[in-house]
Point group: C2
Chain length 331, copies 2
């Protein structure tokens, strides 16, 4: 049985192995992604992003725990296959600023203690691989594998507030942006770009002083940003501002409800299809870009590249001129 089949049959070890292949962008990983792709398209992807220190990881753990708690099973949290079972939950923790896995692994171990023993929860940490959209690309691959493996909700957690987070948020159907009191009060911390991608805003650590002013600042920014919304699937959705205390779980249940209600909203309004289109278009463009560079590299002798670079360093060629020559030369 190959890796893709093993993953479809629920083999967790095979799943871990395949995710490593996908992260490393190996030929085996690509082949398995091809084989699994027809089985994707069912999972709901939830992006959770925010600055360091806002308590995102604890909040994501709380969400997973609540989604797997049976007393809520009577409500809307059900698997889509109408089996009546609780949804299967995967957590993908992405740390674009770390080229190491050390930090991520440490976080994993802390998480494992909380959620371990539940075969329908899967946790994966990813650190930066390569440059130029490499992380967004491999995160897309990882979520496809988890989707095909039958996880109903995939929580994608990203650290920071830069372009990488915006790119990764584009992968999600529902994006939750987390702030905390005392961090979000100055102009810089509340990023127009981050609000642009938010479907749900959360003020975590809501037991800390300053929660009112953070919330007020977020609401003010929302009113300012409203006219310019570009993200597909937004019409008709009022972005809520919720308070949570991830440490004791306060507000987390309400957040789960709002996430699920956003998922329903997307399905009812056609926003789901719009996001799928945007997601796939983004992914396809990245793959084309990578494919073009790979083909170019295969056709360009290292020596030609080195010579052109040397000419640039000596200011005999401008970077544009060097790039144009190298591209033409590759036929």
């Amino acid at each position: 049985m190959d890796l893709a089949e093993a993953v479809l049959s629920g083999n967790r070890l095979a799943l871990s192995r395949l995710l490593t292949q996908v992260e490393n962008d190996t030929p085996e990983g690509r082949a398995a992604l091809d084989a699994l792709f027809p089985h994707t398209g069912r999972a709901h992807l939830v992006g959770v992003t925010g600055s360091p220190g806002t308590g995102k990881s604890s909040l994501v753990n709380q969400l997973a725990r609540i989604l797997r708690r049976s007393e809520l099973a009577g409500r809307s949290i059900r698997r889509q296959d109408d089996s009546g079972a609780l949804p299967r939950v995967a957590i993908v923790a992405v740390d674009p600023s770390s080229p190491f896995t050390g930090g991520a692994l440490l976080g994993d171990r802390v998480r494992m203690r909380d959620l371990s023993g539940d075969p329908d929860v899967f946790i994966r940490s990813m650190a930066s691989r390569g440059a130029l959209g490499g992380l967004a690309r491999s995160t897309a691959g990882v979520t496809q594998v988890l989707d095909a493996a039958g996880f109903d909700l995939i929580l994608i957690e990203t650290v920071g507030a830069g372009q990488a987070e915006v790119d990764i948020a584009r992968l999600a159907h529902t994006t939750v942006v987390v702030e905390a009191p005392g961090m979000g009060d100055d102009i810089q911390a509340i990023k127009a770009g981050i609000l642009e991608i938010a479907d749900i805003l959360v003020v975590n650590k809501a037991d800390r002083p300053g929660v009112e002013s953070t919330e007020r600042a977020l609401r003010a920014m929302l009113e300012l940003a409203e006219p310019g919304r570009k993200t597909p699937g937004k019409p008709g959705w009022q972005i809520p501002v919720l308070r949570t205390i991830a440490n004791n779980g306060e507000g987390a249940e309400r957040l789960v409800e709002v996430v699920l209600s956003h998922a329903r909203h997307l399905h009812e309004t056609g926003g789901w299809q719009e996001r799928e289109l945007a997601r796939m278009e983004d992914h396809l463009r990245r793959l084309i870009q990578v494919g073009l560079v790979e083909r170019w590299q295969a056709h360009t002798p290292e020596e030609r590249y080195t010579q052109a670079l040397q000419s640039v360093l000596e200011r005999r060629l401008s970077p544009f001129e060097a790039a144009a020559r190298l591209i033409e030369g590759a036929g």
Copy 2:
């Protein structure tokens, strides 16, 4: 007189105009960059990065002020042309998470008040343009123009702690990473990836409680990270941890001295050449990537692309298969 010539002759209005052309990646902008490129290679680029709320902007303003203060002119802060004049300083404030210029412009106005009236200080704010390394590419172009225009020190300020910042830091000769007490204390906030790119660490807002523990955490991380340094030009340079209070200028003069001493270190050890090579290689790779995509787009009818995307959405083709077909089809 064309834009490039006007910039070389010191015309500030032409400089502003050309920077806009470069940011928008127009044909005029590219032509002017080609013309100006032989005049580049003299400026020292200083990247200043850190999380929101660390007070980077105030610190950068202080650095510019000190560099332009005559009482320091007797020391090492001189123009490289031995004219005895103070160095000309440019500030490039990059905000990768903001697709708007609103916030950036507000910041500009605050800065202008402090530094206006000095013709040898130039301030430029940049917001995100396009995706996939677009910002790093246009920042490279902007610094090339400022370099050719005769600015000796270019301070590149970036917000956040993600891949975009790491990309932009690669543009700099000296990278200053700014932390603040109470933000850098948890594991998440002190990013291995950010330490990896740092030449100088600064704990700003050093009058706040917790400064000792932030400093201790940074030193501990430095010791851990030391074996794995990948950035070229590091050997022999002990990364210092400095304290500053940007609001009243405390420690800023010392920071200027350390920046200049790092610049000297790079020149003395050959680290400068290594960084120039890495910078140019990075820039050239980006331009090749963009050039390849542009050529592909010119050869691929929109309809072929739309059909392939539709097949992916219907799960009849995997994204890899679709990308491969679209690339092959373009010849």
